[in-house]
């Protein structure tokens, strides 16, 4: 009985808190000073048309590096836990139908091209390295699921993944020496505002992130799927 009363009191307290938050919530018409600074700075000094990308890659670039590291650790953990045990009998998977196979073969180049478009245009349009990498990984997943005879070259995956991770960190350190600080994008030519080759190192960094995320997610899928 006492337990129920305490539970009821806790729920009432939670409801009061939520009610306070809900009534205090309204559309924000003015930005906080720091957000204002970021929104005006991103197009002018960093040369990026998409303000969110400028914030994610440059102003909060260290957070993005941390996120990529977390994803890498997750992929490595899955690969370690589900590593192939050769004495296990391989379950025979059913082959995809002819329609699925042909469709996957037709769609794979288009999906990969779309993923590359998303991460190379991260500084111009919505999207960026993470989204583009995920799109590429989903295309490869479709291809693997449709055809049993296909498999992924794991050493190629790990080589391109570590090279892009190295390139990302190296560009960050280059910003430390050639521009204002770690992950500063202003050591490459800025180009004209709004064109593909602009915003300094942002498109290069996002391309590295895209390749890295795509390889990591493909690795997660294949290690979960292969030894089922």
């Amino acid at each position: 009985m006492a337990k129920r009363v305490i539970l009821l009191l806790l729920l009432c307290g939670l409801a009061v808190l939520f009610y306070k938050t809900l009534t205090g919530m309204g559309p924000t018409l003015t930005l906080a000073p720091m957000s204002q600074q970021m929104v005006t700075d991103a197009p002018q000094t960093l040369g990026s048309q998409n303000v969110i990308t400028a914030i994610v890659v440059t102003m909060r670039g260290l957070d993005t590096l941390g996120e990529v590291a977390v994803l890498f650790i997750a992929a490595a953990g899955i690969g370690f836990l589900l590593r192939k045990e050769h004495e296990h009998r391989r379950e025979m998977r059913r082959d995809g139908s002819e329609i699925l196979k042909t469709g996957a073969r037709l769609l794979l180049p288009l999906i990969i091209l779309f993923g590359c478009y998303i991460f190379t245009h991260g500084h111009l349009t919505p999207g960026g390295g993470f989204q583009g990498g995920v799109v590429i990984a989903s295309g490869i997943l479709l291809f693997i699921l449709s055809d049993v005879s296909r498999s992924v070259n794991h050493s190629l995956l790990s080589i391109s993944e570590s090279l892009s991770g190295f390139g990302y960190a190296a560009l960050g350190i280059a910003g430390f020496f050639l521009a204002a600080g770690f992950l500063d994008n202003r050591f490459l030519p800025m180009g004209t505002f709004g064109s593909l080759f602009s915003a300094g190192a942002i498109p290069v960094i996002y391309s590295f992130i895209g390749v890295k995320v795509g390889c990591e997610l493909t690795g997660i899928f294949t290690s979960m799927q292969e030894d089922a």
């Binding site: 999207g127 995920v134 990984a137 989903s138 899928f221």
Partner: protein, 85 residues
């Protein structure tokens, strides 16, 4: 108009979430939790956050669902081997 759309999408996502909790079949639960993410990504577009919407659609409703399905298949094949051995 936007309020109606948000209410409609919100009710879809509530129904899908409740279905995911109460259904007996694990497969339907995984699929309907993917539906929740898909509706959430449409809501993000309505709220003018296309970057977040892309991430939610690709990771939340695409990849997470596939990872759950693969894990489900792994559990089933492990159970089958237990029965045999």
């Amino acid at each position: 108009m936007i309020v109606l759309l948000v209410l409609f999408l919100g009710s879809i996502s509530l129904v899908a979430a409740l279905f995911a909790i109460h259904t007996k079949s694990l497969l339907s639960a995984v699929i309907s939790s993917g539906v929740v993410s898909l509706v959430a990504s449409i809501l993000y577009i309505v709220l003018h956050a296309p970057d977040v919407a892309m991430t939610e659609a690709a990771i939340g409703s695409g990849l997470t669902t596939v990872v759950f399905l693969l894990a489900l298949r792994k559990i089933r094949s492990a159970r089958k081997e237990d029965h045999r051995g």
